[in-house]
Symmetry: C2
């Protein structure tokens, strides 16, 4: 049973964090101060959010001199997507089985 890490969902639950992550995906790697310039929050708040994303495995920091550049990671992303897809498939199959039994009540 693929037990999914709740940290991924918790990380993506916050709108600021989702905006941050999408900004990284579409704009490439970025730093805390650079990302904070385009958001209505302070640099420290962005730093906290990036730490949460990193703990969830959605992002990885790379040190370049005095700045920390963050880059998206797709592993946890696809793992979470798979978990969701499997759950949906399981339920749909259950529904299909029940419907099939109702229409064709043989042994």
């Amino acid at each position: 049973m693929s037990t999914v890490d709740g940290a991924v969902f918790a990380a993506l639950a916050d709108p600021t964090r989702r905006a941050l992550f999408e900004s990284l995906v579409h704009g490439g790697e970025g730093t805390a101060t650079g990302l904070a310039a385009r958001l209505p929050v302070t640099r420290q708040a962005v730093g906290k959010h990036l730490a949460v994303l990193e703990r969830a495995g959605l992002v990885q920091a790379r040190r370049v001199g005095r700045e920390a550049r963050y880059e998206p990671r797709t592993a946890e992303l696809t793992a979470a997507a798979d978990w969701l897809t499997v759950l949906a498939a399981e339920w749909d199959q259950r529904l299909a089985r029940i419907k099939s039994l109702a229409e064709n009540p043989d042994a």
Copy 2:
């Protein structure tokens, strides 16, 4: 751009709620008191969680006499899965494009 509803991720962020949802998927529809019997929380807590899941569109209540039976819904689930998959694909394509440019620096 498929802006995903953060309520789905917020709903799945809580471990109790995930357990609740998985229990519904694998065991079929259930009531608040019935689900609470298998969890270390009170019925009222389960009721609140089910309300959150329902608001997120992950579950739907059906009234049968004096009891409320909850059943999973896959629409929001697959929508969230698609959002994750698309994001991962976008980033992977970006990486592939960069790698291709590095190996073959033509116009």
